[in-house]
Each structure stands twice: as C-alpha cells, then as structure tokens.
C-alpha cells in the first residue's frame, strides 16, 4: 500500500480506544473488529491509482482530524424538534440517527405488526444476537474494501429493519440521518435490513447536515431479501457542501425477491456511493437507479456492481447526473453474469447533462458475461441541453432560464418515475424543481437552518 499516513491516525485511534469502542457497542458488533483492523492495515484506503477509485481521493478526504464520538456523549438535540419532514403528507414512521447514534429517547407510535423490529442496531444486536450474527457483516466484507474495514472497526450503532416471514408493513418507514455538531465530526453508520421470505417493506433514508462544520460519514448498508421478499430502499441525500460521504450498499437477494434501490443526491459536498447487488436466487429482480444534481464544486462518484449468480434474474439500472459549474460526476457500472446464469436480463443506462464547459463527467460501463443465453445492454450518453428545444420554448415566451429548468427537470423525471410511492414521487418532483431553481442550497428540512 502507500505510506499509510491517512490510515495511521485511525489505526492509532483504535489501538488507544478499542476498549471504549467495544464497551459502547454489542458483542455481535465487536466480534469482527480484529479482522476489520487487520483488513484495514492490509488494504489501507483505496488509491486513486486503482481503477475503482480513480476520481475520488479517499485518503485526502480522511486526512483531516475529525472528532469521533467514541464515548457516546449525548448530543444535545431533539431531532423531532429540529427536523421538519421534507416529505409532508407522507405518513411515515419516522426514526433518527444523530451522527452515528440511534435516537431512542422518543419513538414514533408506529403500530408495527408483531415481530417487526425497527430501531437501533446496538440494542437489536444485544437483544437478538443469534439473528444479528447471521447477518451483520455478512454482505459487506471488510476484506474487500478499506473503507468498509474502517467502518466495521469503528461502528458502534446504527439502524435495523427486521421484517419476519410473511409480514407486510404497509406504512413506509423513514430514517433520517442527522449530522449535528459544533466541531468537525466523523460518523461510522450502519444500516441492517433483514427481509425474511415473503415480507414487504419500504424504507426511505434521508441524510441531512444541520451545522456548517465539516462532516465525514462512512455508511455501510446491508440488505438481505429472502425468497419472495419485496423491498424498496430510497436514499435521499440533502446534506451540505462541507459533508463528505462514503456509502457502501450491499444487497443479497434470494429467489423471486424484488428490490428497488433509488439513490438521489440533491445537495452534498463529496459523495461516493457504492452499490453491490447479488442476485442469488432464480427469478429475482432488482431495480437500481439514482440521480444527482450538482453544481459549484460538488462531486458524486457512483460505482455499481450487479452479480447475476443464477439464471432467470432481471436487473434494470438507470443513473442520471446533471452537472453545473465545476461539478464532477463519475459513474462506473459493472454487470457480472456468472457462468450458467442463463436467461439473464440486465439493462444499464447512464445519461448525463453537462451544463457548463467546466463540468466533468466520467462514465464507464463494464459488462462481464460468462453465459451465452442472456439479454444485456448498456447505454451511456453525456451531452448538453437541446438548443432547438430551448429556442422552441423561448419562441413561446418562456425565458431561457425557465426553459433550461423545465428541460433539466424533464431529464431527471424518469429516475423519479421509478419511485413506487406516489407521495414520495410528487414530493421528489417538487424538490428537484426547487433544486434546479437554486432554492435548495440549504437543507430544506431543518427548522434551525438559517
């Protein structure tokens, strides 16, 4: 590896504070730490010299000295007071993670079906160690990626959604990750979703940064969709320009399961989103989509890896980016069809709009197919708004800026159309329009935002 300078402070921190880290976590979470440390020491942060992290300098992002709340000191905030839901009229069961701690001082009256668990990861892993141990860390391996290793080494809490067999949770569940701190802060978050066979649920996760200090998050999301399970995961980032996020989402799907992952970035600083999806049972379907609207120096780097391990599975992938000013976007999408995974259908589309000469988009589709009876396609375009359409609209009296806005909104519309929740869809259309009008420069949801 490189000289490991950026890594050293985390290795030293763990050496000094291992006891504290473990004391404020659970056995299930502590079990993989030693291996995670070894993996982190071996791997270090991914390098820009490697193919997969070419456009994001990970070591640089981790070099500043961020505070980590290892001692689990109370953050004086009641999220239910400061947070105004950005998706009103949507009846959700609302939960919070403040920095990296599940907020349990007040909980929604969710009226959840029997056996369902929605809550903090630490508590869940303490109360249900057998179930937790079967899943925790089993989709996101610390031996593959230094950031996952770091997260596994330091994570102390997070969020769990556990839906038992045959249970359908109608009401969407909303988790809001809030960054709240007076000093530069790092949070290592975990989300664990266990969908037992034939269960159904929808989870909306929103990231917000309330304060103007620098925030850095590592997030590891593990989703297990049992046979016939039906699960939606919506991820809406509306953080801040001084927020850096490294998210790694891992999905394992069994036969006939159906998973939708939709990741939308409306406001951020530097974001790296990794998506790893494994289709391990026949007739499983996955819909992976996302979009980002970027300006100033914002950056979103998307990496996806879909594995078709067995036959008769379908994956649809759609990512769109709109880049203004000096924004930078990257998309790398790998579809891997294993030998014998016949009758696979895998479609990938990446479309990007560069609105200025300075904006940069790097896109790379990668198909690796070892079966001969498959339908696979990929398409990538990067371009500008259609001048003819702009002029046509102007000639009807619509100002150029408004015409640009309408075309940009139209460009991203199909990503939002993939949302399987009508209220959220309507709300996203409005948020996107606000974003393009420049009215969403601050996170729109927090009462204490100036």
């Amino acid at each position: 590896m490189n000289n490991m300078k950026a890594e050293q402070q985390y290795i030293e921190l763990f050496a000094q504070c291992e006891d504290l880290v473990c004391r404020h976590a659970s056995e299930v979470m502590n079990a993989p730490r030693a291996q995670a440390l070894a993996d982190f020491e071996r791997l270090g942060f991914p390098s820009v010299k490697g193919e997969d992290y070419k456009y994001t300098d990970v070591a640089l992002a981790f070099t500043p000295d961020y505070g980590i709340n290892i001692n689990r000191l109370d953050i004086p905030v009641n999220p239910y007071d400061v947070f105004r839901c950005d998706v009103p009229n949507m009846s959700t069961s609302l939960y919070f993670v403040v920095n990296d701690s599940f907020y349990d001082k007040e909980l929604p009256k969710a009226n959840l079906p029997e056996g369902v668990y929605v809550g903090g990861l630490k508590t869940f892993t303490e109360q249900h160690p057998e179930i937790a141990a079967r899943y925790y860390g089993k989709a996101a391996s610390s031996s593959k990626d230094g950031i996952i290793a770091l997260n596994t080494m330091l994570a102390q809490d997070g969020f769990v959604l556990y839906i038992p067999k045959n249970v359908v949770v109608e009401r969407p569940i909303q988790l809001v990750n809030i960054f709240r701190s007076d000093v530069d802060t790092m949070a290592n978050r975990r989300i664990l979703v266990i969908m037992e066979p034939h269960s159904e649920a929808k989870l909306l996760v929103c990231d917000h940064s309330i304060d103007d200090v620098k925030f850095l998050s590592t997030q590891v999301i593990e989703i297990f969709a049992g046979e016939g399970a039906y699960f939606d995961y919506y991820d809406l980032e509306e953080s801040s320009e001084s927020t850096t996020r490294f998210s790694s989402l891992h999905v394992k799907q069994e036969a006939s399961s159906n998973v939708l992952v939709n990741g939308i970035t409306l406001n951020n600083g530097l974001t790296r989103n990794n998506y790893y999806i494994e289709l391990n049972g026949e007739n499983a379907e996955t819909n992976l989509c996302g979009m980002s609207i970027l300006d100033k120096q914002q950056q979103v780097d998307t990496y996806s890896h879909i594995t078709h391990a067995v036959s008769h599975c379908t994956s649809n992938e759609l990512f769109k980016n709109v880049l203004n000013d000096r924004a930078v976007g990257a998309f790398s999408g790998r579809i891997f069809v294993k030998e014998g995974a016949q009758k696979t259908e895998a479609y990938q589309t990446n479309r990007n709009l560069c609105a200025t000469r300075e904006a940069r988009m790097y896109s790379k589709p990668q198909l690796e197919i070892y079966a001969d009876d498959v339908k696979c396609s990929h398409g990538m375009t990067t371009g500008q708004l259609d001048e003819n359409a702009l002029f046509y609209m102007q000639s009807r009296g619509i100002p150029r800026d408004e015409a640009r806005m309408l075309l940009s909104v139209a460009f991203t519309a199909d990503v939002i159309d993939h949302v399987r929740l009508d209220v959220l869809k309507d709300r996203l259309h409005k948020l996107v329009e606000k974003r393009f009008r420049g009215e969403l420069t601050k996170c729109a949801s927090c009462r204490i935002c100036k």
């Binding site: 359409a389 002029f391 102007q394 000639s395 009807r396 309408l406 075309l407 139209a410 460009f411």
Partner: protein, 251 residues
C-alpha cells in the same frame, strides 16, 4: 404593424437575405412564396430571433418597437408567433406544463396574474377544439411521438392559446394531407380578427385556397422580386417559378 426595411441576414457567414422590404398592417394576410432556397424560412427565423441567424443590415419594427433588439421570448410576448416548419419534440415536458408556463409568461408581461388551474384547463379544452386536437395529445410530452399532421395542428393550437398579433406560418401545409390541411386552415381562419395579421410562407397555391391572402410576395435569392394580389399565386401555380427565374434573367 410590421415594418421590414432593407433586411440583410447571414447564416454560417453566407448572406441569405439581401435587402428585404415588407410592410404588414393589422387585419392583413400576406403570402410569401418562392422556390427552395430563396430565403423564406430564413426570414421567419430572423423575425423570431433564432440565434443561428445573424442580421447584418436593416431594421425591423413591430408596433413601433425595434424588434431586433428584443429577446426571442420578448418577441413572443409582444405578440409574434411562429408556426415552425419542423416543430421540436421535447421529451419529458408535458404539453400542459409547457403551455401553462408560456401563457403565464405572456400574462406576467402584460401585468396579469397567473391563470387559475380551472380556467387554464377550460381554455385548453376550448382551443383544442379549434384544431380538433385529441385530449390524449394534450396530455403527452410536447410533440413527442406526434405524427406530422398532429405536430402542425399542435402549432396552431399553441397559436390559439397565445393569441398573437402577428402569426408567421412557415410551410404549415407541408406534410399535411387534405383533411389535416383543411383543419389547420380552418383553425387559422377562426383565429383571424381585424386586429391581427399573418404571414403565410408556402411553396404552393394549395394552402391559399383555404387561407385567402390579401397580398402575395415572391421571394427569390434573398429579395422580394414581385408583389401583387391573390392572383399572383394562381399565376405562379400555372407558370411555375421558372417564369420568375426567366424574368430575373437567370435562365
């Protein structure tokens, strides 16, 4: 209403219009005919401010205002409307949103409040009937997947919505079958008032059977070479453009 004096214009550095003079008064319909490449579409593009065309000389006033100084959107709000020869498809932007945005911009320009949702839908319904445009089309994205005839009807529908003072119909008859032609022409005639005017650009007499012009001009090599009454169109139909070319000493 419209005064064009000695108008010269280039596209890609090549001079296409070489000194156009034209005067259109309220209530009049002018037909502009001429062979391919004579500059008819360039003239319409210049009048609505298409940035691909560069005016090098001359002036255009519209109701006393210097038209060439106005942005394309302001020309529209002042009451100029171009029915495009090739209407543009705008995937993802619904006709409803598009028309509401356009109408409200016009209203804002005239100091009126935005139109209410009910009034707007009522207006859409009324105006759609003028060109027999299907409700299904009105709910789709602008021009997306429309047939050639539907696109042209959609142009006249937009014209009906915006009620321009001067309508420029750029080969609105091209690509239309007889029925569509009649629907489009009827639409234009229904929208005619003593206060507005129209410039009809066409190759053929056909459209002029339905939309009766007051004045017919022949545009040739960037200049208006002949101006007369409606009988000129009939004469052209009979003799062809070679007759003009001969008269100009080109044959």
């Amino acid at each position: 209403m419209l005064e064009i004096k000695n108008l010269h214009a280039n596209v890609n550095g090549k001079e296409i219009l070489k000194g156009i003079n034209l005067s259109v008064k309220a209530g009049e319909i002018h037909a502009i005919m001429g062979p391919n490449g004579s500059g008819k579409s360039t003239l319409s593009s210049v009048l609505v401010g298409n940035p691909a065309f560069e005016v090098t000389e001359g002036e255009v006033t519209f109701n006393g205002k210097d038209l060439l100084e106005l942005s394309p959107e302001d020309r529209s709000r002042e009451g100029i409307f171009l029915s495009f020869q090739y209407p543009v498809e705008i995937p993802g932007v619904s006709m409803v949103n598009f028309m509401r945005a356009a109408l409200n911009e016009h209203r804002k320009y005239n100091g009126q409040p935005p139109v209410s949702a009910t009034d707007f839908l009522k207006l859409m319904r009324e105006k759609r009937a003028i060109v027999e445009l299907d409700n299904k089309l009105a709910n789709r994205s602008v021009n997306e997947g429309f047939s050639g005839g539907e696109k042209k009807r959609n142009e006249i529908f937009q014209m009906a919505m915006l009620e321009p003072k001067l309508a420029i119909l750029d080969e609105t008859d091209s690509g239309l079958d007889i029925d569509a032609l009649r629907i489009v022409a009827n639409g234009v005639n229904k929208l005619r008032t003593p206060e507005n005017a129209a410039i009809v650009i066409t190759h053929y007499q056909r459209l002029l059977d339905y939309i009766k012009p007051d004045v017919v001009h022949v545009l040739y090599k960037g200049r208006i070479v002949k101006t007369a009454g409606p009988e000129l169109a009939l004469e052209l139909e009979e003799k062809g453009y070679d007759w003009i070319k001969k008269e100009m000493g080109d044959e």
